[in-house]
Symmetry: C2
Subunit: 222 residues, 2 copies
């Protein structure tokens, strides 16, 4: 149940202060980009929310931690996804790179300025937040009402949608999947094995999954 120990190499804000940045332009608001290594923290829960982030490449997880180490990953963010938006001054989750990732940053102050003049920008920001909310609501059903088999099937399909391919690369560890689906790594592993026995998928190795019977998965995803 305990989340594995994570090394905190530094936050985006800290690295920014250290000058480890690559300037670029982003969206319609100027920003810059940063690279984060595997498991590197992008921002921490409770930290000052000075930036909004966008995945350029790689995968990012955002999560909340309970006192005793139980972890709930609220979302994985893929290229094109924006994350770290907050109304309050503090981040309500921690964000880490799942694999080496390039992330675009926009200063929140700049964003605020532009939303005060530009109703379109304001609406875009709201729309992003609202999409997050929709994802959370779907996730809520999954965590509250679905079986392990259904959770894993839903997860695989959502990954497949990301990739569109027949064979899906799994960028995250079993621990990440478990903490996202509200299961243990053993249950995730067993469920994948079961799906393979049922010939719904094939797993050549633990980071690669071939969808063999998408109908079966769709049925399970409900």
């Amino acid at each position: 149940m305990l989340a594995s120990s994570r090394h905190e190499i530094g936050t985006a804000a800290a690295a920014h202060a250290r000058g480890q940045i690559h300037v670029t332009s982003e969206l319609d608001i100027p920003g810059f980009a940063m690279k984060f290594g595997r498991d590197e923290e992008i921002f921490g829960e409770g930290e000052s929310a000075d930036f909004v982030y966008k995945v350029h490449s790689g995968v990012v997880r955002t999560y909340r931690l309970l006192d005793d180490g139980r972890r709930q990953i609220s979302a994985f963010h893929f290229p094109g996804d924006v994350f770290g938006i907050e109304v309050d001054d503090e981040h309500s989750t921690t964000a880490e790179a799942v694999i080496e990732s390039e992330v675009g940053l926009v200063k929140r102050s700049a964003l605020n300025r532009s939303t005060e003049n530009d109703a379109g920008a304001a609406r875009a920001l709201w729309a992003l937040t609202s999409r997050h909310l929709q994802r959370m609501q779907r996730h809520l059903v999954l965590l509250g009402r679905k079986t392990a088999l259904e959770r894993v099937a839903s997860f695989l399909l959502s990954l497949a949608k990301q990739e569109g391919e027949q064979t899906v690369a799994i960028p995250m560890s079993r621990m990440d999947i478990a903490d996202y689906l509200g299961l243990t790594i053993e249950t995730v592993s067993r469920t994948l094995s079961q799906l393979e026995r049922e010939a719904a998928i094939k797993l050549p190795n633990c980071r690669q999954i071939v969808l063999r019977d998408r109908g079966r998965l769709d049925q399970l995803a409900a």
Copy 2:
């Protein structure tokens, strides 16, 4: 596991068309108010999202339904809470009155108009959505990582915060609580009984709970 049958007396939009409305002003945007009886539907998932709603009195639940009837209540809305905000044209959840409730309505078109001119209004709308998102994230942890005891304790405390009193009125049924916490009614009931045996609470009747040892509840809520 099946949600109990619900009678659909009509939607807000339909009633509006029938003229069953009480005109009033709401927030900084003019709107009107409606009364809904126990279990009456306010809007349905997939229906056109023509209004945004605010609880004046009573309690409202919003939920999603799976094909086979499994239900996940995403939130209870109490007086002062705004619900039914959508970016898309369709409601992503169903909303029903838990008890007789008076609800304020604002036309979305009016809201859109005002957010295009007024950056403050736009930000207020975004802030509301963002608060919903925060609630969802906390709920996510509860559904994914907490035990039945912890879920029920968290729920009681959140109700108590609504009321601020020592003795808490429970407006919703065990079924509602179960579908909110991702449990069964039997588990909810047993857990409440256990908390009573532990002297953490007292339940004079099934719709009334006295908080006896808030420290214990806080500890469980983690």
